[in-house]
């Protein structure tokens, strides 16, 4: 470190001091020794993405029939046998027609009454399906499918959507022909102002332009809609989701936790007697779960489960040599306090 070059320090200072402009400074140091060349095998192991022009697609093939077998074993539990399940994730298949395959626009996307949107209704590029299945599926075992497996399950999904026939085999050779049949291949646009660069031929201006009016801007609200009363408690007790100090409280939308506790049977496990532990200075020497001067409360509880009387006696009379050289002197706390603490320790010293 003593030979750390002065100019590197300068680069550091610039980087810290002037933020975004710093990288534009000349790279005099060259960052020697940082990073190494990747080997071709390393690049191949990770460079698995497939672009819409199918750059990156590995060779291989898979039939609809084989895809069905794979699907039923690895995919159907989440996506349904016919790719129609809405139980775990959005459905994959449904909502497209033969007419959509001709036009490349899914007509039902214009129909606000049509419920939901399936993957085949939305996807513009088959590369997206192939890429995502290969990198992320099956959901609990991502990257366990071979390229041939991915061709097969993709063929099966396309078959369910009526895009390829039952006897079809999808491969790197014919995937472009199938792309030309994707039902929503013409349904995407980049003509908007929400891509930050100039790369996608973006619109120059945001689509919505509001004006910052200050006086008499809108008539008084004609109607105010809010959550219906039956949904009031749908997100739990809001009183428990807001701070207990400050300008406001949370609204109680369910029975507060305190009410539940008071109605619990008397035999319920004792809560942490925080006030007793603090009042009697127990916490000066014992942590909840870590050793301080003396052992953690949790460790004591583990050593003497259910032994309330033994613990009570130790608290009152003191103890030495059990946990180390430092003795615990006899404690002069009241009987009630001592019993409560002993009971809590004997009952696992839980929260």
């Amino acid at each position: 470190m003593s030979s750390f070059p002065k100019r590197t320090l300068l680069v550091l200072a610039l980087a810290c001091g002037v933020g975004a402009a710093a990288w534009a400074q000349p790279k005099t140091a060259g960052y020697a020794g940082i990073g190494r060349d990747a080997t071709p095998k390393e690049v191949a192991a990770w460079d698995i993405d497939v672009r819409p022009d199918f750059k990156g697609l590995p060779p291989g093939s898979g039939s609809v029939t084989r895809g069905q077998d794979l699907w039923e074993g690895k995919c159907a539990s989440c996506h349904g046998v016919f790719g129609e399940s809405n139980q775990v994730f959005s459905p994959i298949v449904g909502g497209t027609t033969a007419e959509d395959i001709k036009s490349g626009h899914v007509a039902r996307l214009k129909d606000p009454a049509f419920p939901g949107r399936t993957t085949l209704m939305k996807v513009t590029s088959l590369s997206t399906v192939w890429d995502y299945v290969y990198r992320a599926m099956p959901w609990n075992q991502p990257k366990s499918l071979t390229p041939d497996d991915v061709y097969a399950v993709t063929a099966y999904m396309l078959n369910l959507g009526g895009i390829v026939p039952d006897d079809f085999t999808l491969s790197d050779k014919n995937i472009r022909e199938v792309q030309a049949r994707m039902p929503n291949r013409n349904g995407g646009t980049t003509a908007h102002a929400m891509w930050p660069g100039n790369e996608l031929g973006r619109a120059a201006k945001p689509d919505v332009s509001a004006v910052a009016c200050m006086r008499d801007c809108v008539p008084a609200a004609s109607s105010v809609t809010q959550l219906p009363p039956h949904a009031r408690g749908s997100h739990g007790n809001l009183a428990d989701q807001n701070r207990l100090v400050g300008a406001q409280r949370g609204i109680a939308t369910a029975a507060p936790a305190a009410a539940v506790k008071t109605s619990a049977p008397a035999a319920a496990a004792p809560k942490v007697p925080v006030a007793l532990l603090e009042k009697n200075s127990c916490t000066a020497c014992h942590g909840m779960t870590q050793k301080l001067v003396g052992p953690a409360f949790s460790d004591i509880a583990k050593k003497y489960p259910g032994q309330t009387d033994h613990l009570l006696q130790k608290i009152k009379a003191g103890s030495t040599g059990v946990w180390g050289a430092i003795p615990m002197p006899p404690q002069t706390l009241g009987d009630d306090d001592a019993k409560a603490i002993a009971r809590w320790l004997a009952d696992s010293a839980g929260p």
Binding site: T8, A15, C16, G19, A21, A22, Y31, I34, A38, W46, D47, D49, P52, K55, V88, L109, P112, T119, K122, T124, S125, S127, T128, D131, Y132, A136, W139, K143, N184, G187, T189, T190, M194, W195, P196, N198, E199, A212, C213, R215, V218, P219, A221, S223, V224, Q226, L227, H235, A239, D240, N242, L244, Q248, G250, I251, A255, P256, A257, S281, T283
Partner: protein
């Protein structure tokens, strides 16, 4: 008790009014003996008996008899020995702050691994989100990855593909910047109608941190990248989903995009992509790839699932807008906000957050009459580009119903739209990129509700 208080439209009274006469006598008798825990329990029990009230304890502000027992009776923490130093090597918030937590919206997602937790915006101060409260979105569960085994590869249109270790990346000159991160789906549940009760659920897929890392451009230059012409960068994660996103070259050229390992002075939390994530200021969170393992440079966009199939905006003409990335100018009042209850009539400091993915917040206006009239709020420093900005404004509540809104403007002149203005262009079937003005209705009883106006 409080039930009738609400019905008559009165504000909440001080806590002694929640007890009946006998309860009051018992409390003050016990208070005289210094049994603070008894008072706590008595109040809690009284409140528990009235489901319509908050379980929270309002503090007595009127001196009774000789004065406030909280002053007159010295508590244990003034008369006993406290906790030793380093009881917790990594500290925790006060136990009295246990309500301030990340939460899932019930029923929003069917699995726990492909899910989201919302940051408790209604309880935060300033602009920085504590790392442990930063919202989470995972697609295939989170991992705590061994940093000594993590690698970053840079490949594609460049002279030599490179591999970096964490040690090496952390030796490079670093920069630290404050930026907000917002999920493209934030407020998505509200596109069609009121759906959730609090600011946590309407806007809590939003957080802000100081991020520390290396500008991505530095690594591309080290690999001899071809930066001429139209270029796109693909970012890829190392987790199960290996999420990919196409990143705008202009942001990378500007040096804004960071390969980050630090967050709020510590290493990234595992839920935030430890040990390495991409930081793409102003752009929706899904592009801030977590567990970042690879950067590829190419001459075409990559058509990743989350830019062409999900996180797309369905327009009324049936076209999907793809690669919609910028989080447009937006704001929300966090205090008071939905699901809360004002303690009393009188003075309040309305406060909230404003942000823009296109630059810095220039102005925030606040209305308490449902958008009819507006006043310009104070902006608290710092006001930084593509970062949360805290605003506040004085308000005296007279106990009558009010509708509170905030409207932000950024330094490009863009003004945050109303729901009416936004829906006129984009319809109601989108999920993503809802930046409409939020309305909170303060009712006569002090309850604050999430509402939409028409």
């Amino acid at each position: 008790m409080s039930g009738s208080i609400q019905q008559t439209g009165q504000v909440r009274k001080a806590p002694e009014n929640f007890l009946d006469a006998q309860g009051v006598r018992a409390v003050f008798a016990e208070a005289g003996k210094g049994r603070r825990d008894f008072i706590r329990n008595a109040f809690a029990a009284a409140v528990a008996g009235t489901a319509a009230t908050s379980s929270a304890l309002a503090q007595t502000r009127t001196a009774v008899g000789d004065g406030d027992p909280a002053i007159l009776n010295l508590p244990a923490h003034s008369t006993g020995l406290g906790q030793p130093v380093v009881t917790d090597g990594y500290g925790k918030p006060s136990k009295y702050e246990a309500n301030v937590q990340r939460r899932q919206s019930p029923g929003l997602t069917p699995t726990a691994q492909a899910s989201v937790s919302f940051a408790p915006l209604q309880s935060l101060f300033g602009i920085v989100t504590p790392s442990g409260l930063h919202f989470e979105r995972h697609h295939q569960g989170w991992w705590d990855i061994d940093p000594s085994k993590h690698r970053l590869m840079v490949n594609g249109m460049m002279k030599t593909p490179k591999v970096f270790t964490l040690d090496e990346l952390m030796r490079l000159p670093s920069v630290s910047r404050f930026h907000f991160i917002e999920c493209g789906a934030n407020t998505g549940m509200e596109w069609g109608n009121v759906a959730v009760p609090t600011a946590q659920y309407t806007h809590g897929m939003l957080s802000c941190s100081e991020f520390t890392g290396v500008p991505l451009i530095t690594l591309l230059e080290m690999a001899g990248a071809d930066l001429k012409g139209e270029r796109f960068v693909l970012a890829e994660g190392a987790d199960g989903s290996s999420m990919t996103r196409t990143i705008p070259m202009s942001l990378i050229r500007s040096g804004e995009v960071l390969v980050a390992y630090g967050q709020n002075g510590e290493m990234l939390r595992p839920e935030q992509g430890y040990p390495l994530r991409l930081v793409v200021p102003g752009v929706q969170g899904v592009s801030w790839v977590k567990y970042l393992r690879r950067i590829e440079l190419g001459d075409q966009p990559y058509g990743a699932k989350d830019e062409t199939v999900h996180y797309v905006d369905l327009m009324p003409d049936g076209q999907h807008r793809q690669y919609t990335s910028i989080q447009e100018c937006k704001s929300v009042v966090t205090t008071p906000s939905g699901g809360q209850m004002l303690l009393d009539k009188g003075f309040y400091n309305i406060t909230g957050l404003a942000w823009s993915g296109r630059g810095s917040v220039k102005r925030v206006d606040v209305s308490v009459d449902g958008g009819r009239n507006w006043r310009t709020a104070r902006l608290e420093s710092p006001v930084l580009s593509k970062c949360l900005t805290r605003f506040n404004i004085d308000w005296v509540w007279d106990g009558t119903p009010a509708i509170i809104q905030s409207r932000a403007m950024d330094d490009t002149g863009y003004v945050q739209p109303s729901y009416k203005q936004l829906r006129a262009v984009r319809g109601t079937r989108s999920i993503y990129h809802n930046n409409a003005i939020q309305s909170w209705q303060v009712q006569a009883n002090g309850e604050v509700a999430n509402v939409q106006l028409s």
